[in-house]
Amino acid sequence: MSLLNKLFAAAALVVTMAGLPMGAQANEGPTLDKAPLRFDDASLQQGAKLFVNYCLSCHGASSVRYNTLTQIGLSEQQIKDNLMFAADKTGEQMMVALRRDDARKWFGVAPPDLSVIARARASEAGSGADWLYTYLRQFYRDDSRPTGWNNALFPGVGMPHVLWSLQGEQEARFVTRDDGHGNMVKQLEGLELVKPGSLTKDEYDEQVADLVSFLTWMGEPGQETRRSMGWFVLAVLSVLAVLSYLLKRAYWKDVH
C-alpha cells in the first residue's frame, strides 16, 4: 500500500472508531447494572429451575426444546422429573399453558415469548443480560397499576413482580425536579426495600444472575461451543493462509 492509501485507511478507521464510543455517550438511555453472568452447569441449572417455576406459567420459550437442557448437564430423566410440568416428551418445546387471549385480558398484553429475549434487549446501553438483570431487580409497589407493581426500567409494565416472595417489596422514592424547560416533573430517584423477602439482597442478586445467565444461554444454546470451534477454524485457516502465501511466492519468483 502506498502512503496515501494508508492515510485513507487510517482516516476511515479513526472516524469509525471515534464514532463507536460516542454513540454510547449520546444515548440518554437508562443506566444498566452489569450482569455477573456465569455459564457453569450449576448456575445454568439453577437458572433453568427458576425459569420453569416462576416464568413458564406466563412466558413460553417456544424455540427451546426441553431436551436442549441436556447441554447444561441434566439427564433426560432429571428434566422429566424436575422441570417438565406442561409437556410429556423431552423433545417438546417449552410452551406456555396460559391462553394468549386470557393473558391479554388479565395483563393488557400477552406475555412475549422469551426464547431470544436476551438478544433482543441488547442496545448501546449494555447487553441484553444487563437489561434483564436490571429489570428483574427494579420492580416496586405501585397501587395505581392494575397488578399493583411497576418497574423502574420498564415504566407501566404489564408484568407483576413474580419474584417478590424472594426479593421482598420495594417502594420508590420520587423527587420533583425542573426539567430544564420550567416544568416540574416527578422523577424516580431510587428504590427502597420496605418488606424483606425470603432472601437477602445479595442472595437475590445471585439468583437473578443465574436466571439471566440461563436466559442468555437460551438465546443461543451452544454459544460457547461456537466460540471454541472458532479457535479451531482460525487455526486451520491460518495454516492455509501461510501455505497459500508460500505457494503464491513460489509461483511469483520469476515475475519482476
Binding site: 492515510l7 413460553g60 417456544s62 424455540s63 394468549r100 438478544r119 470451534m229 497459500s244
Partner: protein
C-alpha cells in the same frame, strides 16, 4: 508408463470430442491460461475475486436456508410469527443451521464491505474510464441489484427492524407525486407490510434478483476480459506487446492470479470466521438487536435505522429538508453555471437555464425560496403549481440520485491521467473529503435524528455539509479534475 500414455490419449480424445461441440479449451485459454493481466496488481485488486466468493457463499447458504425457512407472517401456537420462528428453528434444530444462517447474515454485510472497497479501487485508479465504461456500468447495475437483494432479504426474518425498515422504505414511494400512494400499495400488495409483502419479497430475494445478479456478473466479467484490466498505474498494458502479441507487462491469469487470489481468499475467510464465530451480530450492525423482537405492527420502535450499508444514502434522504433545499438549489445553480460557462454551445446553455429554473420551481414553486406564500396556486393532476414538490419527495430523489451519480463518473472525470499515483493534491484532497463525508453520513444514518457528536456537535448540519461534499465530488469533477496538477504517467507499469 504405457498405461499412463493410454489414459492421456483417451483424455485427449474426450477433450477433442467436447471441443468439437463446445469451446472448452478455448474458453479456458481465453479467460484463464492465456488471459493476460497486468503484473502489478496490489491489495485493492483482491476485492473483485472476493466479491465472486461472497456471491457463491450467499447462493449456497441461501439454498440451505430456503429448505427450512417459511415465508409466513401468521402467528404459531406460541404467538410467534411462523417466519420468525422458522429462523430460530434453523438456528437451533437444523444440523449446522446456526453456521449457515450466520454465514448468510454476515455474508450480506461482507458483500457490501467488499463491493464498497472494490468500487473505491475504481475511484483510486480511474478504472471506470475509457475503455472500461461498460464494466463500470455493469458494476453499477450489480450494485443496484445488490441493494435490492439486501432490502428484500432483510424482511424475511420478520423481526421488528425487518418490518419497520420495509415499512419506512416502501412508504418513501408515497412521496412520488400523483402515483405514489398507489405505487406503494402495489409494492406491498396490501395497505401495510403484511404476509402478502413477505411472500413477494421472498420471491424476489430467492429467484428474481439472484438471476439478474448472475447475468450481470457474467456481463461484467465478459466486458472486463474484452478490454483487459486496468492497474494501479492506470496505463494500458496492451500498448507494448512482444512478437507473439502478448503484453510485455502481462502475466497469465492462471496460475499467477489464481494462486494470489487464493491467498486473498484465506485472509478474507479468517476475517469472516472471526465475525461468524465470535461476533455474529457484528455489534448490532450486522444483525440489529431489535430484530430479535418479532414483527409487531402495533409497536413502532423508538428508532428505526436501516442496516449500515444503506445508511450513507439514507442520511442524505434525511438531510434533504425544506431548510436544506435553498443550499441544494444554490449547488445546482453553481454546477449549471459552470457548465454553461465552459460549454460553448447555445443549446447546452439553454438547457442549463431550464434546469436552474425548473429545479427552482420544483423546490419552491412560486415562492421566494419557500419562505413566502405562493403568488397564485392551482392544481393540475394533483400537483400544486404554486408550491412545488414536498421536501420528502426530493429526499427520495436525493437518495436514488446519490447512488446513480456513480454511473456518471466515466464522463465526469477529465483528468489526463487515470491513477491517483499521478494525480495532484487537489484530487487527493477532494477524494479524502468524499470518503470522510461518506463515512460520516453512514455513521449518522445509524443514529436517531437528534444525534450530536460528543453531545455537542449536532448531527444535522454535519449531514447537510457532508451531503454537499458528496455531491460536489461528482458535480464539480469536470472542473477540478482538469485544474488538478498531474504528474506524467509512465509508459510501462512500475513494479511495486
Amino acid at each position: 508408463m504405457s498405461c499412463c500414455k493410454i489414459v492421456t490419449e483417451k483424455a485427449q480424445q474426450v477433450l477433442g470430442w467436447v471441443d468439437e461441440r463446445f469451446p472448452l479449451t478455448s474458453t479456458y485459454k481465453n479467460h484463464l491460461a492465456e488471459y493476460y493481466a497486468p503484473k502489478n496488481f496490489n491489495f485493492w485488486y483482491f476485492f473483485g475475486s472476493l466479491a465472486l466468493l461472497v456471491l457463491v457463499i450467499q447462493i449456497v447458504t441461501g439454498i440451505f436456508l430456503v429448505m427450512h425457512y417459511k415465508p409466513d407472517a401468521s402467528l404459531n401456537a406460541a404467538g410467534v410469527p411462523v417466519a420468525f420462528a422458522s429462523v430460530e428453528y434453523i438456528m437451533r434444530d437444523v444440523a449446522g443451521g446456526k453456521f449457515i444462517r450466520y454465514m448468510h447474515s454476515t455474508g450480506a454485510s461482507m458483500f457490501f464491505i467488499v463491493v464498497y472497497l472494490h468500487m473505491f479501487r475504481g475511484l483510486l485508479y480511474g478504472s471506470y474510464r475509457k475503455p472500461r465504461e461498460l464494466i463500470w456500468l455493469f458494476g453499477m447495475a450489480i450494485f443496484l441489484c445488490l441493494m435490492a437483494e439486501a432490502f428484500f432479504g432483510y424482511l424475511l426474518p420478520w423481526g421488528q427492524m425487518s418490518f419497520w425498515g420495509a415499512q419506512v422504505i416502501v412508504n418513501l414511494f408515497e412521496a412520488i407525486p400523483v402515483i405514489g400512494p398507489d405505487l406503494s400499495i402495489f409494492i406491498r400488495g396490501d395497505f401495510v407490510v403484511s404476509d402478502a409483502t413477505l411472500n413477494r419479497f421472498f420471491a424476489f430475494h430467492v429467484i428474481a434478483i439472484p438471476l439478474v445478479l448472475l447475468g450481470l456478473v457474467t456481463a461484467h466479467l465478459i466486458a472486463l476480459h474484452e478490454v483487459g484490466s486496468n492497474n494501479p498505474d492506470g496505463v494500458e498494458i496492451k500498448k507494448y506487446k512482444d512478437a507473439n502479441g502478448i503484453p510485455l507487462d502481462g502475466i497469465p491469469f492462471h496460475p499467477y492470479y489464481t494462486v494470489k487470489d487464493i491467498f486473498g481468499v484465506t485472509i478474507f475467510l479468517i476475517v469472516f470466521a472471526i465475525i461468524i464465530f465470535f461476533a455474529p451480530e457484528g455489534g448490532g450492525y450486522f444483525l440489529e438487536f431489535n430484530n430479535f423482537f418479532p414483527a409487531d405492527a402495533l409497536k413502532t420502535p423508538p428508532h428505526i435505522a436501516p442496516v449500515w450499508y444503506f445508511t450513507p444514502f439514507y442520511s442524505m434522504l434525511r438531510a434533504t429538508t425544506s431548510d436544506f433545499l435553498p443550499y441544494l438549489w444554490a449547488f445546482v445553480t453553481l454546477v449549471a453555471g459552470l457548465t454553461a460557462w465552459s460549454v460553448r454551445n447555445v443549446w447546452v446553455r439553454r438547457l442549463c437555464l431550464v434546469l436552474v429554473v425548473g429545479v427552482y420551481w420544483g423546490f419552491f414553486g412560486l415562492t421566494v425560496l419557500g419562505k413566502t406564500k405562493p403568488l397564485f396556486d392551482f392544481a393540475i393532476l394533483g400537483i400544486h403549481i404554486g408550491r412545488g414538490f414536498d421536501a420528502k419527495f426530493w429526499g427520495v430523489v436525493m437518495m436514488g440520485g446519490s447512488v446513480l451519480l456513480f454511473a456518471l463518473l466515466p464522463w465526469l472525470d477529465r483528468s489526463p491521467v487515470k491513477s491517483i499515483r499521478y494525480k495532484g493534491g487537489l484530487f487527493k484532497t477532494i477524494l479524502t473529503l468524499f470518503v470522510v463525508s461518506f463515512v460520516l453520513l453512514g455513521f449518522l444514518g445509524t443514529k436517531a435524528p437528534g444525534y450530536a457528536f460528543f453531545g455537542l456537535i449536532p448531527g444535522g448540519p454535519v449531514a447537510a455539509v457532508s451531503t454537499i461534499l458528496y455531491l460536489a465530488f461528482f458535480g464539480l469533477m469536470p472542473w477540478y479534475s482538469r485544474l488538478d496538477k498531474t504528474k506524467p504517467e509512465p509508459e510501462r507499469v512500475t513494479s511495486k
